[in-house]
């Protein structure tokens, strides 16, 4: 690769306020670079308070024009933050943006080191590495690719629904993939929502219907994404549409099959294990779509070979016992992941007795219990199905804020528990005790709601519940569940006998969230929440261009926040679609044909099938549209015939020499 005849390099060292300057002697770094790297082409070295500010950028632009710079090194924050900024500044001054190199002396130096002189020396070495590297930069042109206007939304809960509707309303095609038989997510299971206490179904179902009937939405329920290929703008997605065993074009959703099905099964998903459904079922009456699914594992016909009651009674012959899974392939430009959360399994806290003591309920169980459409028609009763409790304990922070389980706050449990207190009070008149560590009632109208529940006479006891037992110590405890807790405000251990306990279980990532992250090529925290690109400034994007996240998949949050994220992700996608094309980093590999010996070592290394072998010419070729720029083939080529732009051998080798300050030694070291 040919280099410009003479390198004229500008070095810019940022103070970042005191973020860098507080540890690194930035003036010294700049002076050193100007003096010691002059023979390597450094024409000017400056330091400035905030290089990323418009004044800082103008400084660089001015130098490029006036000093005829052809290369720029900016020593500041991580390139993941401001590389774009400085490349744009270069471009504004007429320099190819790829002639800029960033050196991270904040994340890699000032923020992680305390010894000022060691930090300053390291910053110098890193600037030196950047200068050596930039000498080998060549002007590049970004690859632009068109953006496919369709979008995939994974997960049909409230966040996914919101995203899908925003994009569809803007006139673009959306595919919504949901693995359950109906969209609606957890919100469809609730009776009331805090703090307004409006009916969950009343506000959710109209949105579900909109998704189901929207001309721009293709709804794929009982389906899962199996494979994602491609990159931003051009994803190719493989979806498995599981066999419903129902012909959707014939089914009218009349429900006769469910009525006639003789097999009753405990519904672990929608009814949270508290109610029953049939082997052919729609999870709830307002399900979207209206088509039922057959639960093959529990269907009598698949078990014993006879029954087919549903088929006999179906008025439109829509039952199809031989239906097979379908594999669909869709092309989309962007993807929104709104895969939601799982409820913490309270059986793991054996001292809380869930699963052992019948009248200990999980929060989702209680949601179903209090739901007018639930197994008890909204009657709050004990596990016997009839007794109305006279006293109820509600336990906050179950499995949350606890190093033995999940060490984070699940955000929604305080408000949810306060809502439960209200519902219990309203439905049963029982005495209600809420056990909390801290009441977290942030956000609009939440604390007001807490005040209202206090007014209703709920007893708030500050203390993390230690155990729930059915072993009485005194007569008044006979036949009760005893909640043992330290009332930390009274400073005494208390044993409070109640009829019913509700555990406000926390939220946790989907059990398969890590596997899903792998399918989509995004990152997860150690817990399994999806990681956003920036925790404050880019909360719905991911490190992977074209893939966005919304709702609880990113971390615990309530309905308003999920909806806001769903809409935000949609806005980001619409922005991309409007751009019509996207510029890709021109980091690509290419083969220098006359150096290629045709050994084919690289041929098997590319997972994107970008490398092919031209039998006629006995050389290897790389398709730049398929190449993702990882550079594995570049590293493998024994003849050095593959060039990786942006990360060439010359660039990396020079950077190493620079980092080791071999350029400072007498000139003979680097000829």
């Amino acid at each position: 690769m040919t280099r410009n005849q003479e390198e004229r390099i500008g070095v810019y060292v940022c103070h970042c306020g005191t973020n860098i300057a507080g540890v690194v002697d930035v003036a010294q770094v700049a002076e050193w670079a100007a003096a010691k790297l002059q023979h390597r082409g450094v024409v000017i070295a400056r330091e400035y308070k905030f290089m990323c500010s418009s004044l800082g950028q103008e400084l660089i632009e001015k130098d490029i024009k006036e000093l005829d710079l052809n290369r720029v090194v900016v020593a500041a924050c991580s390139p993941h933050l401001h590389e774009k900024t400085f490349r744009t500044a270069c471009a504004n001054a007429g320099l190819n943006p790829f002639m800029c190199e960033m050196v991270s002396i904040r994340e890699q130096v000032s923020w992680v080191h305390t010894d000022k002189s060691a930090a300053t020396s390291k910053a110098m070495a890193m600037v030196s590495g950047g200068v050596e590297r930039v000498r080998h930069h060549v002007p590049l042109e970004p690859l632009t690719v068109p953006i496919h206007p369709a979008t995939l939304v994974v997960g049909g809960g409230i966040a996914g629904i919101q995203s899908a509707l925003e994009i569809a309303d803007a006139g673009h095609q959306v595919y919504v993939v949901e693995r359950e038989p109906s969209i609606g997510g957890h919100m469809a299971q609730f009776d009331k929502t805090f703090p307004t206490l409006d009916c969950s179904a009343c506000i959710l179902t109209p949105k579900m219907v909109s998704v189901g009937t929207h001309p721009n939405v293709k709804l794929l329920t009982w389906s899962q994404v199996e494979k994602v290929e491609g990159y931003v703008g051009n994803f190719s997605v493989t979806i498995r549409k599981k066999a419903r065993k129902i012909k959707e074009d014939l089914c009218t959703g009349c429900g006769i099959c469910q009525e006639k099905c003789p097999k009753k099964v405990i519904d672990d998903v929608y009814e949270a294990g508290l109610g029953y459904r049939k082997a052919v079922y729609t999870p709830f009456p307002q399900a979207v779509p209206k088509f039922p699914v057959m639960d093959v594992a529990n269907c009598t016909y698949y078990e014993k070979g006879t029954c087919k009651a549903c088929e006999k009674f179906c008025p439109t012959d829509a039952i199809d016992f031989d239906q097979q899974d379908e594999i669909l392939n869709v092309q989309v430009g962007n993807i929104i992941l709104a895969t939601g959360y799982d409820l913490f399994d309270a059986r793991r806290i054996s001292n809380y007795g869930y699963g052992r003591l019948p009248n200990v309920f999980s929060s989702l169980e209680f949601e179903r219990l209090s739901n007018a459409a639930g197994p008890t028609n909204g009657q709050v009763v004990l596990r016997d199905g009839k007794t109305i409790p006279k006293s109820v304990g509600i336990v906050h922070c179950v499995g949350s804020r606890d190093r033995n389980y999940n060490n984070y706050c699940s955000v929604i449990c305080c408000m949810q528990s306060i809502k439960f207190a209200h519902l219990v009070h309203e439905r049963t008149g029982a005495t209600v005790y809420n056990f909390y560590i801290d009441i977290r009632a942030a956000f609009k109208d939440y604390d007001e709601f807490y005040q209202r529940i206090l007014e209703e006479g709920t007893q708030f006891i500050r203390g993390k519940v230690a155990e729930i037992s059915d072993v009485p110590r005194v007569a008044s405890e006979e036949g009760k569940l005893i909640i043992q807790v330290e009332d930390t405000l009274a400073g005494k251990q208390r044993r409070i006998p109640v009829d019913m306990v509700i555990l406000s279980s926390g939220l946790q990532p989907r059990a398969d969230s890590k596997a899903t992250a792998k399918v989509f090529g995004i990152s997860c925290s150690a817990n399994g929440w999806y990681i956003e690109k920036h925790p404050k400034l880019d909360p719905v994007a991911t490190m992977t261009e074209g893939i966005f996240i919304a709702g609880c998949a990113q971390g615990p949050k309530d309905i308003p926040a999920s909806v806001a994220q769903g809409a935000a992700a949609a806005a980001r996608v619409l922005g991309k679609i409007e751009q019509k094309e996207v510029a890709l980093e021109p980091v690509r590999a290419s083969v220098i044909e006359d150096q290629c010996s045709g050994c084919r070592i690289c041929n098997g290394l590319c997972p994107f099938n970008a490398i092919s072998f031209l039998e006629d010419r006995m050389v290897t070729e790389i398709n730049p549209a398929l190449c993702q720029g990882c550079g594995t083939c570049v590293a493998a080529c024994p003849a050095g015939a593959i060039v990786g732009t942006g990360f060439s051998n010359e660039q990396v080798m020079a950077q190493i020499e620079g980092l080791m300050l071999m350029n400072i030694e007498p000139a003979e070291v680097i000829a």
């Binding site: 150690a526 997972p607 024994p638 990360f647």
Partner: protein
């Protein structure tokens, strides 16, 4: 003399996981020793073994190779190739009569800033214990360093 020995370590990071782990260590202000200087690559699969020998020949006392966890590679599986090359490089180092502990392989996800920092700190101590390498410096055999750095490229064992 080894009392005050401050090793110099070159670290190679991939753009997607380990570089971001280093970023996260910074954002979270987790301290680690200043002995390591990082080179960003797009993928640990880009790591040409000559880079490692070049670093050692240029005066580095140790080299740290980092990438995404197995199965989490942004480029699907290229970090497995890095693993293969790492084993090859360890053998080569032994063959040259050097401690294979001079090079270290670390998988770090973008969420593992704290782990990245503690592993760097641990490696600095390991290299400190091994002492200076003196390879490619005036007092050592310059020929060896030069030969390795410029010499025939290491071949991929198998695709």
């Amino acid at each position: 003399m080894t009392d005050a020995f401050e090793p110099t370590i070159i670290g190679f990071t991939c753009n997607w996981c380990s570089y971001r782990a280093a970023d996260l260590a910074g954002t979270a202000r987790i301290k680690y020793p200043a002995n390591v200087r990082l080179v960003r690559l797009m993928c640990s699969g880009r790591l040409d073994p000559t880079f490692v020998f070049k670093a050692l020949a240029s005066g580095a006392d140790g080299v740290m190779i980092t990438g995404c966890h197995p199965g989490e590679c942004h480029y699907l599986e290229q970090n497995y190739k890095a693993l293969r090359r790492f084993q090859l490089m360890q053998r080569t180092l032994k063959g040259l009569g050097l401690e294979s502990g001079r090079i270290k392989l670390l998988w770090a996800s973008a969420a593992e800033g704290a782990r990245f920092a503690s592993e760097v700190a641990a490696f600095v101590e390991e290299i400190r214990a091994l002492g200076p390498l003196h390879w490619g410096r005036a007092d050592a055999s310059e020929a060896v360093g030069a030969e390795v750095a410029e010499g025939p490229r290491l071949q991929e064992v198998s695709a």
